[in-house]
C-alpha cells in the first residue's frame, strides 16, 4: 500500500506523459462508445415502428416477410382466421403504405402511413406532442410525427388543422406525435385503416399486418406458434419482429461493415496509442524501477505498482471519455435527425472491457521488461 503512493506520484509526476496517456484513452473511449451507440441506435430504428405499438404483443404477416417495410398484403379473411386461433384475446388489422405527402405550399415527401383499426384505434401513437390520437375518428384526419411536420413545414410553429394531400387525397392534421425515428427520415402518418387505404390507393388486398393480443396466461411466443400452425401465416412477437428487422439490415446493407471498420480502427488506434504510450512510460522509468529493486522492492510489489498505474490511467481516461460521450449524446439526442440515438449502457460496458483489456495488455508488456531488469542497472552511468 505504501508503495502505491510512490507509484501514483511516478505516474502523475510527468504531467505531459500523464495527460497524453489519459487523453489517448479518453478519445479511444469516446470513439468506441460513440460508434457502437450510433450503430446500435441506427439499427434500433429499423424496428422503431414495431416497438412504438405497445397495444399488441404479436404481429402476424405473410410467411415471406423479413422486415417491417417489406409487406405483402394478406387477405381480409386472414384477420378472421387469426381471431379463431385459441389463445387470441383480440386481433386487429394494420395497414402500412407509403403515400406522397404534399403541403399546400407544394413541399412534398414520401411518408409512412400507418392505418390503424377503425373501431379501437389500436396501434395509435401514444406519445403526443400536440392534439389527441382520439381525434383520428374525425373524417380525413391524420396524426403526423413532429419530425415529419418540421420536414413538411420547416420553420413554422406546430399547429393543428393544417391540411395535406396524401396521394391527392386531402387530410387534416389533428395531432402531432412523438413517434420514434424510422430508419429512413420519412414523416410517419397515422390514420384510420379505412382512410389510410384510400390515401394510398386501393389494391386487390390491403391488409399488411394483423396485430394480436394474447389471452391472459398465454405467452406471446406460444401464441405465435399456434397462429403459424393453424393459419400458415408468419407470427412474431414484437421483440422477435424488431430483431428480424435488425438482422435483415445487418445482413443486407453495408452498415455493419462501415461501422465495423470504424469501430475496429477506433479500437486499434486507441489500443496502440494508449498501449504504446504506457509501454514507453514504463520503459523510460526502467532505471527508477531498477533503483526500487535495488533498495529491496520485490517484483510482486513492482507488479502491483505498474498495474495500479495502468488501472488509474485506464479509469481516469475511461471516465473522461464516457463523460465526453454522454455530453455528445445529450446534445444530439435532442436534435430531430438524431433523436433516439443514445449512449447505451451496453456500449459503455463493452468499451470499458476493451479499455481494461488494452491497459492490462500494455502493463503486461511493460512488466516483462521490469521483471527481467537487472537491478545492477542502477550502477550504470
Amino acid at each position: 500500500m505504501l508503495m502505491n503512493f510512490v507509484a501514483l506520484k511516478m505516474l502523475t509526476g510527468d504531467r505531459a506523459k500523464y495527460l497524453g496517456l489519459i487523453f489517448a484513452i479518453a478519445f479511444a473511449t469516446f470513439l468506441l462508445e460513440n460508434q457502437t451507440s450510433i450503430f446500435s441506435g441506427i439499427l434500433k430504428r429499423t424496428g422503431s415502428q414495431i416497438t412504438d405499438i405497445t397495444d399488441a404483443q404479436v404481429w402476424v404477416m405473410d410467411p415471406k416477410t423479413e422486415y417491417f417495410e417489406q409487406t405483402k398484403a394478406l387477405k381480409d379473411t386472414d384477420l378472421t382466421r387469426v381471431r379463431g386461433v385459441d389463445g387470441v384475446e383480440w386481433a386487429v388489422n394494420l395497414y402500412k403504405g407509403s403515400p406522397v405527402a404534399r403541403t399546400m405550399e407544394g413541399r412534398f415527401a414520401v411518408s409512412f402511413c400507418i392505418g390503424i383499426d377503425d373501431a379501437t384505434l389500436t396501434g395509435a401513437p401514444r406519445k403526443m406532442v400536440l392534439g389527441s390520437w382520439e381525434r383520428l375518428r374525425e373524417p380525413d384526419s391524420v396524426v403526423v410525427d413532429k419530425a415529419g411536420y418540421v420536414l413538411l413545414f420547416p420553420g413554422e410553429p406546430l399547429e393543428l388543422g393544417r391540411t395535406l394531400e396524401l396521394n391527392d387525397h386531402r387530410a387534416t392534421i389533428v395531432g402531432i406525435s412523438d413517434a420514434s425515428a424510422p430508419f429512413v427520415s420519412w414523416p410517419v402518418m397515422h390514420a384510420r385503416y379505412s382512410e389510410a387505404v384510400n390515401f394510398v390507393g386501393r389494391e386487390r388486398t390491403q391488409l399488411s399486418y394483423v396485430l394480436v393480443h394474447p389471452r391472459p396466461g398465454i405467452k406471446p411466443g406460444d401464441l405465435c406458434a399456434r397462429i403459424e400452425q393453424q393459419t400458415g401465416l408468419r407470427a412474431r412477437t414484437t421483440n422477435q419482429f424488431c430483431w428480424d428487422c435488425i438482422v435483415y439490415y445487418l445482413k443486407n446493407t453495408g452498415i455493419p461493415v462501415n461501422f465495423g471498420i470504424t469501430i475496429a480502427i477506433a479500437l486499434i488506434v486507441g489500443a496502440v496509442v494508449a498501449g504504446q504510450t504506457f509501454y514507453l512510460f514504463t520503459v523510460e522509468n526502467l532505471k527508477q524501477f531498477g533503483a526500487l529493486k535495488a533498495v529491496g522492492v520485490t517484483n510482486w510489489r513492482l507488479i502491483g505498482m505498474i498495474l495500479l498505474q495502468a488501472l488509474t490511467v485506464g479509469l481516469v481516461g475511461f471516465s473522461i471519455g464516457t463523460g465526453m460521450g454522454a455530453t455528445f449524446f445529450e446534445i444530439f439526442s435532442h436534435q430531430l435527425a438524431t433523436r433516439g440515438i443514445i449512449l447505451m449502457w451496453q456500449s459503455v460496458a463493452l468499451t470499458g472491457g476493451c479499455i481494461l483489456f488494452v491497459v492490462i495488455l500494455a502493463s503486461i508488456l511493460s512488466l516483462r521488461r521490469v521483471l527481467v531488469l537487472e537491478p545492477a542497472v542502477v550502477f550504470r552511468g
Binding site: 505504501l2 506520484k9 509526476g13 533503483a291 535495488a294 533498495v295 522492492v297 545492477a376 550502477f379 552511468g381
Partner: protein, 252 residues
C-alpha cells in the same frame, strides 16, 4: 582483524558476462574485505571491474564462482526473496547518477527505503527529513530533484542510503558528477554521517582528491585486487591551499 569485524568478505570471486565466444571474465578471483567502522575505497582504472564487484557484493549480480559473505551470511545462497529482504534491511546505495525519483520531493525520495520496508508514510518522511536536516538540506525538503543542484541531489541520495540505518553502504562514484568542492562536501558528509562502529562503507571512485577520507584503499586492475592499503584517516587539513591528507599508511 577478527571475523566479527568483517562486514564484507569476498573469496576468489569470479564473474563472467556473455556466452561462448563473447564471454568476458570481468572478475578474476577477487579477494576483498571491508571492515565495520571503516570507509573502504575501491579504486582502479575504468573497466577494471569495480562496479561489477560492488554489484556482486550487493547481491544485484550473481558471481560465477567464489564466495561473497556479508556479515557472515553468504548472500548468494539466500533464496531470491530472502536476498531482497536482506538487501532492504542491510544495504544502502549512493549512485553516481543519483537515481532519484523525479516525481518525489527530496524528503519522499529519502524515505523510499523505509516505505519499501513498510514503515508508515508520515513516519518515514519525518525520519527522512531529520536526516536531510543533518545533511544540511533543511531548506530543500520539499524540493523536487529537478530543482536541486548536483551536490544537493547527492546529499538526498546519501540520506536515502542512511535513512533505514543499514549496516553496509555501497557508493558508486559519488563525486564523479560533482565539482571538487561539492565532492569534498559530499565525501565529508559521508565520512562523518555514514561511518560508525556498526556500519561499513565501500566507495568506488576514480577521484584521487578524496582518497584521504579512506580508512582502507583496495586497488583493482584487470578484474583483481592488486594492492590493499590501510591508513588512519587523517583530519583533513589545508595549509596554504595544499591538502595534507595521509598521515599514516601501510601497504599490504
Amino acid at each position: 582483524m577478527t571475523a566479527k569485524d568483517l562486514a564484507v568478505e569476498c573469496r576468489e570471486v569470479v564473474k563472467d558476462f556473455g556466452e561462448g565466444d563473447t564471454r568476458i571474465r570481468v572478475l578474476r578471483g577477487v579477494n576483498f574485505n571491508a571492515r565495520l567502522g571503516e570507509l573502504t575505497f575501491l579504486v582502479g582504472p575504468s573497466g577494471c571491474g569495480k562496479t561489477t564487484l560492488i554489484s556482486v557484493i550487493a547481491g544485484l549480480l550473481n558471481s560465477n564462482a567464489g564466495d561473497v559473505e556479508l556479515f557472515g551470511e553468504n548472500i548468494e545462497r539466500l533464496p531470491a526473496n530472502e536476498r531482497i529482504l536482506f538487501r532492504r534491511k542491510n544495504l544502502g546505495f549512493v549512485y553516481q547518477q543519483y537515481n532519484l525519483l523525479p516525481a518525489l520531493t527530496a524528503a519522499e525520495n529519502a524515505a523510499v527505503p523505509l516505505l519499501a520496508a513498510g514503515v508508515p508514510r508520515r513516519q518515514a518522511v519525518e525520519r527522512a527529513k531529520h536526516i536531510l536536516v543533518e545533511l544540511g538540506l533543511g531548506g530543500r525538503l520539499n524540493a523536487l530533484p529537478t530543482k536541486l543542484s548536483g551536490g544537493e541531489q547527492q546529499r538526498v541520495t546519501l540520506a536515502r542510503a542512511l535513512v533505514h540505518e543499514p549496516r553496509l553502504i555501497l557508493c558508486d562514484e559519488p563525486t564523479a558528477a560533482l565539482d571538487h568542492a561539492t565532492g569534498e562536501t559530499v565525501m565529508g558528509l559521508l565520512a562523518s554521517n555514514a561511518v560508525s562502529s556498526s556500519r561499513a562503507v565501500i566507495v568506488v571512485t576514480h577521484d584521487s582528491r578524496v582518497f584521504h577520507y579512506a580508512d582502507a584503499i583496495a586497488h583493482m586492475d584487470d578484474g583483481q585486487i592488486v594492492k590493499t592499503e590501510s591508513q588512519r584517516r587523517a583530519e583533513r587539513a589545508v595549509v596554504n591551499g595544499v591538502e595534507v591528507s595521509v598521515d599514516e599508511m601501510e601497504t599490504v
